[in-house]
Symmetry: C2
Subunit: 111 residues, 2 copies
């Protein structure tokens, strides 16, 4: 298992911008937590799911832990603190209050 990185906003958007990965994340948000169910509802192969889940896991937004009774199964869950961090980064950038009017230096010098 690789080390956790602290992604920038652009990194986050790239990680989350992959359609299948966003669908997987949505499933986990909705309470689905093991690979078998993730796979059958999206009809993705196990190794592909494993790949996308490792990306989500390494980004930090998804936590993974093995089942107590049967360690073959893995349970996924959202790391709420990381999700809040993503929300903060996004909303800080896409804040409508940040939008500035066009600066006068733009274009040909009006004379």
């Amino acid at each position: 298992m690789e080390q956790k990185i602290n992604p920038s906003l652009a990194n986050w958007l790239k990680i989350l911008g992959e359609p299948n990965r966003l669908l997987l994340l949505n499933q986990i948000i909705e309470g689905i937590c093991c690979n078998c169910e993730l796979g059958e509802s999206l009809s993705l192969s196990p190794n592909l799911i494993s790949h996308h889940m490792s990306v989500l896991n390494e980004s930090g937004i998804v936590k993974a832990e093995r089942d107590k009774d049967d360690a073959r199964w893995i349970h996924y869950s959202i790391d709420i603190d990381v999700m809040k961090e993503v929300n903060t980064l996004f909303n800080a950038f896409f804040d409508e209050g940040r939008i500035q009017p066009n600066k006068s230096e733009c274009g040909p010098r009006k004379s």
Copy 2:
């Protein structure tokens, strides 16, 4: 100029997840509006800027219009309504209130 598309959330994240494109969008948010200034501050070639700007423009988040006095220049600005739409889409998906606890069907059947 191509037609405007109405991107899904995954599309938006992919469009905005390109580092140079996000930097360009940031410049426009901060009031920079013509290619010359966008290029010199990020040291990107004109054709590359044109490419990224066309992606932003076709997505609808950036508006482009030619200068009244010298139509060779193009002025870019943010479409606030579209930006609000992006914010709405994002915050609807990444709403912490949506997070469900793990469903009991997950993993091996506890017996």
